[in-house]
Amino acid sequence: MNALKGFSAPIVTGVVLLGLWEGVLALLDPKGFVLPAPSEIVGALIDNWDAVFQGARITGFVAVSGLIAGIILGILAALLVTRFRTANETITPLAVAVNAIPIIALAPIFNNWFGLTSPRSNQAIVVALVFFPIFINTTRGLSQVDRSQIELMESYAASRSRITREVRIPNAMPFFFTALKLAASLAVIAAIVAEYFGGRQDALGPMITQSAGLTRYDDAWAAVLAGTAIGAVLYFAVIVLERVAMPWNSLVRNPK
């Protein structure tokens, strides 16, 4: 499993971190309710497994579907923009600036636009958050192509779409995956924050705030853990996907 190598150091660190956390809490014993020990969180997770699992399913669906939609839209927009060069010169900085908007603030508006009960409003937040990094980076990747590679293809009288397929898209892959790693984490955060403003109550977002609101911090952290797990799964899925999709890239990174 070449794709899985290099995970041992993080696992060791993780165990150490968790041990430290548990140990410090056991030693100092601050009022345990604010930051429960990992064991308590796991206990709460087991107790509430059904509810947390259900919540993770709902939130996970919003995050993943929004992520996919955002990726598709981002890539399409990037392809469109690279097709027209002047558009690229002007739209890319524009997108960078628009990306600076705190999109979370749109949540209450989106809830009304797409309906409080529809998952669309939460997905829309995820899409909006995911779209920009994907779009900006993919555009860079599609346009920052080695000039001589394009000329080579031209010397073969290759068509425009062929050049896009053979040169631009492979060239954009590392850029795309960099953005995707960012987007994977963003998607979960966006989904949870969006749920916070409306939508189904059995999702992770409400579960976290509601439990915290009732000082059931172990339950809240159990739900946080579920959210983190979704984020981590997505992140590592992206890494595995990257290694599968760009076998040549790992060669570049670990030159032997």
Binding site: V167, W248, L251
Partner: protein, 273 residues
Amino acid sequence: MSEVPSMDEATSAAQGASSLVIDIRGATKVFNPGKSNQVEALGEIDLSVGPGEFITLIGPSGCGKSTLLRLVASLIPPSAGTVQVNGKPAEQARLDRDYGMAFQTAGLFDWRSVTKNIELPLELMGWSRGARRRRVAEMLEMVKLSEFANHHPSELSGGMQQRVAIARALSFSPSLLLMDEPFGALDEMTREHMQDELLRIWEETETTVVFVTHSIPEAVYLSTRAIVMSPRPGGIASIIDVDLGDRNASTRDDPAFFTKVTEVRTALRKVEE
């Protein structure tokens, strides 16, 4: 402002269709014409190259060597004049894939294996899978990289990459080979080795080669004619016929070789004033 060279074309086709591989008449190239950053890259150029010739272009940086090569490749159009390749307009020759091209950097596609890099032009020409594989095997044999068929470019040394690029340029047996400083990045030892390889291929396949270089010994060692270019605007300063016959290990130690080197150096010094 390229005029349609209908008459010209007809005559030249009649005259030299079979005799000239490259026929450049009064070609000029101005970049960004009319703008503040206008660059007159090439003044009027006239140049004819016959079949089987090995032409090297040498000259100071910015004198238009690459531009001239790209005119021939029809990657850019001339501002005036005509460029004919194999008796037809350069554009047509490009569409007919009459030439192979290699650049200063190997310009391989990281995401394709060595085999698939060499296959690329064949794929684009619609060769069958079997034919492609056979040809790639031959080419790998020729550049002595058979054992690296399934490696990716990043696993190869610079010199090996360059050989792949040359294999790619040669893979579809173009009658014309355009090379822009292909050995610039190599160290001297590897470079000399590659020069011998290229000469061998040139002799075996009887292609015509136009080769850009910065190195005087390289220009002399390789070419049948060395063309010294001058800058601002780019033009042909002098043409030095080189006839060293069969080149081999001792050629480089040959006084005749040194004489030609000195001759090219003198021509270059004049250009640089």
